[in-house]
Symmetry: C3
Subunit: 247 residues, 3 copies
């Protein structure tokens, strides 16, 4: 059971954070909010998403699992205006969710959760390098790299106390170093891994709105991006597997 109202902007922000990775997901409702955890079809990226009860204007839910077509939700609700309230309503074991916004009443068919991949386990990975950076800076560096290459190396140089991003194109090369003055914090632990810009570009667009993104890195290990949404009442973690560095 779910019965809630939420600001249209926050709702859209949440949908976009999930849709950067997967077109559909299992949403878990509980007394204290909603969560999801999903892996993309290629098993390369994972999202862990939480939207606390406090992010909603009103919220009442029991423990349940619902299958949501995230891409569809994104199309339908990309026109809700600022300040509009969205109300969500779902009976126990219902196949359809009732959504109302600004005089519009939607009845949206849910997906059978059996057709959606099981929730992935939370991997225990040790990523000792840690940096906190503005989402806009992070996204700009990703966009600049994408002009000349399809992959990017991210790393920490403990000696210089810098976080760096390096991309090699067929003929060109780009490097961006963030010193201590451009970072909110940095753990000076050697780290460097290579990632696909395909994934990073979609993630970057979402992260660009976050004031602070925590980036956790290792050596040839995944990267984890963590940031708040919904004014601190929601949280997103993206985990992205490294690519193999080859010549």
């Amino acid at each position: 059971m779910l019965k809630a109202t939420i600001d249209a902007e926050i709702f859209r922000e949440a949908i976009e954070a999930i849709s950067a990775l997967v077109p559909e997901c299992r949403l878990h409702t509980a007394e204290d909010g909603i969560t999801t955890r999903a892996v993309d079809t290629a098993n390369v990226a994972m999202i862990a998403f939480t939207l606390k009860k406090e992010a909603f204007d009103t919220f009442k839910a029991t423990k349940s699992e619902i299958g949501v077509d995230i891409s569809k939700m994104k199309n339908i609700f990309n026109m809700g205006g600022k300040g509009d309230l969205i109300s969500l309503e779902l009976a126990d074991n219902a196949q359809k969710m009732a959504v109302s916004v600004h005089g519009y009443h939607y009845s949206i068919t849910l997906l059978d959760t059996n057709t959606i991949r099981k929730d992935p386990n939370s991997p225990t990975i040790n990523l000792p390098g840690k940096v906190v950076i503005s989402g806009e800076d992070l996204n700009n560096a990703i966009k600049a790299a994408a002009v000349i290459s399809d992959k990017i190396a991210m790393g920490i140089n403990p000696k210089d106390q810098t976080f760096y991003m390096v991309a090699e194109g067929d003929t060109d090369h780009i490097q961006r170093e963030f010193g201590k003055d451009e970072l909110k914090s940095l753990s000076p632990v050697e780290a460097r891994s290579l990632f696909s810009l395909d994934y990073l570009r979609d993630m970057g667009k979402v992260m660009s709105k976050a004031t602070e993104v925590e980036v956790c890195l290792g050596i040839d290990h995944p990267v984890r991006f963590s940031f708040d949404i919904a004014g601190g009442n929601g949280h997103v973690e993206y985990l992205l597997a490294p690519r193999i560095e080859a010549d």
Copy 2:
């Protein structure tokens, strides 16, 4: 014969109202203004269009019929700036119309009126349900429905005194009800018909600029939208045939 000057914005508004339905038409000039009446190629929608002499800055015309390539006019004049005056000049039996705007002089070849469909008769249809609504509200509801379906039902619920629009997609459903507080007026007569969103989308874009649109409905009957253009010195009527409600 036609010799007239008109504000570029009003001219463009008029061209767009016609081009939402037909790519070419017979324009009738007369002493008191210009009119057209045209049916789309599929015989599904009709436009009756009037631009009174008062909509022009200067206007002199004799009774005549000219064939106009509306799509071409739209392309050519979509860049006239605000406040610019367009002058139109056409001799008796001329094949070309001289159009001047902001230092540019065009000579535009007219179409042979024999190649354009005859003017349709004005059908006499009884549409007892009547609602007056803002063009923006109407267009927004059409756009929202178009995300999930290709057809929409419009109707009046006399008991609730509401005007409603309902669209069914393959899996989803959307409903928008306008109560008395959102309408300028409503005749509480039972009405409901189904329409193709293909046509409504183009009409909706034009109607979105009108403060008031009169919507006349019946049961499984056409819909008629009437609204003013050119600050009340012009008028447009769209008539759209219903689709058959099937499952």
Copy 3:
């Protein structure tokens, strides 16, 4: 050798002026600035481009020739923000140029100058008709003509003291006359030639930002457009061959 810093906006303006004609070019560096002279692949249009040392914030160079992939430069640097400084650095006989902007460090592979067409000779053509016009007016007339045709005639009518542009489409015709009040200056010498709008459209976009463009014309002769960039510290000349007037 080249070591210079320049405002990102000016750099982009320079790149765009060149890329309207050619995708790659030989840039000549010298003590007093950089220059290029290039012909398009079809031998129809030529550019002569100068950016004086004064256009840069700092500038130090020796006489040299470098091969630059202009299209690539345009893609990479179309996101530099206003007020940003770009620094360029190139060692003697280096294959790569180091470019830094706003914390980003690029290493860009240069082209082998042997693979780029030799610099064209400066043709000595007598173009007695001369007009000075605002770049925006010129570009607007080019855009209006491009809606109905793929070529345009430009000419000077010495009797009326007007500069005119005429385009004939399959069925339509457009003419724009600029009188003395719309021109900065005019030499009343008979002139008229026909040009391809394909080329003019790209040139027009660049010229639209220039306050004054000098247009030099003859009878069935090329046209030469000259205008300043970089606040007067740079100069561009486009030369465009005429098309044959046929029916």
